[in-house]
């Protein structure tokens, strides 16, 4: 039998030295962990970088040449892209490079605000409706049914008539009034499923208030699905703004927006295709980036899908 005291390579470990598994993770919270995981997803990060670049260009792009977005110059009308006008000019001789970036400010701002604000409101109302149930739920759901029955264009037109057209705030308010309905419904459905789970009961047993349960447990658990809906809403908002601008209720000329530039150019698409294609590329790029980012976020939001 091997005498362990004579074996020089191994010595017994005293219990104090036993530290267990040495795989401690740095202290973390859920959202820190989401960010850590998002960073590992290349497409999501690339999308984030492209979106960041777009935001930077939207801010500094108009300052990169000597033109502004509203001055007409008939001597330089309808020019194709050239060293003088990088993206060419439109029928009134306005520089498209400048107009694209100024238009991007409006489009991106509306796309983000008119998605996040309605979703935040919708999630909160849906969360309350689903968690409390009963009469509260009944009332909120019937209200949503009624509001959904009326075409959103009617609200938009009425609101813009009341608040005056042309400002971003008006458009965001108009989109918010109808935009929260869908997210409230989706959230309510998800919360109805989640609230019967035992971890929600455990939280209630510990004395958590309904608001704490909704904000800490229910809504974060719905985020993964909601985020997908959010990324799909962004392009629809960009086009809704373009449509409203087209019928004269959105951003008023000479202020541009991507949607408006596309609408204008679509009339002369055969003669000047570059005018149509350039803003389309930016709208497409924005949509693609938000979709890829949403995809990556959904995976990062669920700890079980992590590697």
């Amino acid at each position: 039998m091997l005498n362990r005291n004579t074996c020089p390579d191994f010595t017994p470990l005293s219990p104090d030295e036993l530290t267990g598994e040495e795989m401690a993770r740095p202290e973390t919270t859920y959202f820190k962990d989401v960010w850590r995981n998002l960073k590992k997803r290349k497409t999501a990060i690339a999308s984030l970088v492209v979106l960041g670049l777009l935001v930077v260009m939207v801010l500094v792009g108009p300052m990169m040449n000597e033109y502004n977005y509203y001055s007409n110059d008939y001597s330089a009308a309808n020019q194709p892209p050239s060293p003088a006008h990088w993206f060419g000019t439109d029928t009134l001789g306005r520089d498209l490079w400048t107009r694209v970036w100024v238009g991007g400010r409006v489009s991106l701002l509306i796309a983000i605000l008119a998605t996040i604000i309605p979703y935040a409101i919708g999630m909160m109302i849906g969360g309350i409706s689903g968690y409390f149930g009963g009469k509260v739920d009944m009332f909120i759901m019937r209200l949503i049914d009624v509001l959904m029955g009326i075409p959103s264009l009617i609200y938009d037109i009425l609101l813009i008539m009341v608040l005056g057209s042309g400002s971003i705030a008006t458009l965001v308010i108009a989109f918010t009034i109808t935009g929260w309905l869908g997210s409230a419904r989706t959230t309510r459905g998800l919360v109805l499923q989640l609230k019967e789970r035992e971890f929600v009961m455990a939280s209630a047993t510990l004395g958590a208030s309904p608001m704490r349960i909704i904000l800490r447990h229910l809504l974060p658990n719905t985020l993964g699905i909601i985020v997908v809906g959010m990324t799909m809403t962004i392009p629809s908002v960009i086009f809704a703004e373009a449509f409203l601008s087209f019928i004269g209720l959105g951003i008023t000329p000479p202020n541009p927006s991507w949607g408006q530039l596309i609408k204008e150019a679509s009339e002369v698409f055969k003669q000047y295709p570059y005018r149509f294609i350039i803003p389309c590329i930016f709208v497409g790029l924005t949509m693609l980036c938000f979709n890829l980012l949403g995809d990556g976020l959904r995976d990062a939001l669920d700890p079980r899908l992590r590697t």
């Binding site: 401690a24 035992e198 047993t205 510990l206």
Partner: protein
């Protein structure tokens, strides 16, 4: 027993409306007492209302009739502050360790939730308390920053226990805490619960359908059938001198470890299924399956009668 009564239920009744089908009576007039430091086992088959009773006691459901008295006072008469106090004193361990932890919260957040709500162990002490709790339930500090899906069922159940212990409760309602676990893990978790009770003077309401386990840890056992308590006795008395026919049938179903005895064991097979708790009629709930049923059993529900000191049974046959 001389210990003081911690919690008492009086004629507790909980029903659920089922759309278009009537009323489901989950708990039908249950009166129980729980003393400080004791383990009261609650046994019965699936769907008999054990879990509903447990959840009503921890105030997840509002009873339709009857009272729950905690330290002599009705828990539904509590003000805001007293209510929070009750939420601290009475905790629950859940049946399904896979559903009882928020998948998005790391373990330390889950365990500390009670501390945050009740403002216990603020600042730096919070982290130390979490590590202390992890150690108490046999996990180590490396586990604090992991997510629930990285643990096995037994480990998750320990996390659930740590979460309940965090707020230093007096009573823990254990809702089948071991039924979802492997047998070897069951023993570990049971030993943990017994040790914690000894160290901290906890009271348990132990809900289970595992008859051999409940005998090993309970001071008293209540047998539940279709929403009613049919027999209540000190653990040993119940196994030796049970007098309700349902208890008899239930106990005859316990498998015995000796194969020779097991082969000749007399089993009482009940006819039929447990009746539906929807639209319960009058009479003894067990009458439809009872081998000794008499006409009176179908008309009048028997009350719990004291057979011997501390031993109660609800049966017309019993004197």
């Amino acid at each position: 027993m001389s210990q003081s009564v911690l919690l008492e239920t009086k004629n507790l009744r909980k029903t659920f409306e089922i759309k278009g089908r009537g009323t489901l009576t989950a708990v039908n007039g249950v009166s129980l007492t729980l003393r400080e430091g004791e383990t009261l086992g609650l046994v019965g088959e699936s769907g008999c209302g054990k879990t509903t009773l447990g959840r009503t006691i921890v105030k997840l459901y509002k009873p339709d009739a009857g009272q729950i008295l905690y330290q002599g006072r009705d828990i539904w008469q509590f003000g805001r502050k007293e209510n929070l106090h009750y939420r601290k004193d009475v905790q629950m361990i859940f049946q399904d360790p896979y559903a009882s932890l928020d998948p998005l919260s790391v373990v330390s957040t889950s365990i500390a939730e009670g501390l945050d709500i009740h403002g216990l162990y603020p600042g730096k002490a919070r982290r130390e308390r979490v590590l202390e709790l992890l150690q108490m339930v046999g996990l180590n500090k490396e586990h604090a920053n992991r997510f629930p899906h990285e643990f096995s069922g037994g480990q998750r159940q320990r996390i659930g226990i740590a979460r309940a212990l965090a707020v230093e409760p007096k009573l823990i309602v254990c809702d089948e805490p071991i039924s979802a676990l492997d047998v070897s893990i069951q023993a570990q978790v049971m030993n943990l619960l017994v040790r914690l009770q000894r160290d901290m003077g906890l009271s348990y309401l132990f809900i289970t359908h595992d008859l051999s386990m409940v005998k090993a840890i309970s001071d008293r056992i209540a047998v539940m059938y279709l929403g009613s308590i049919v027999e209540l006795a000190p653990a040993n008395t119940l196994y030796r001198e049970h007098c309700h026919p349902y208890t008899e049938a239930l106990l005859s179903a316990i498998p015995l470890p000796d194969p020779d005895v097991e082969a000749t064991r007399r089993r009482i097979l009940l006819k039929g299924d447990i009746p539906s708790p929807v639209n319960l009629g009058p009479g003894c709930p067990f009458a439809s399956r009872c081998p000794h049923a008499k006409p009176i059993c179908r008309e009048q529900q028997p009350a719990l009668k004291e057979v011997s000191p501390g031993h109660f049974a609800a049966c017309h046959e019993v004197e």
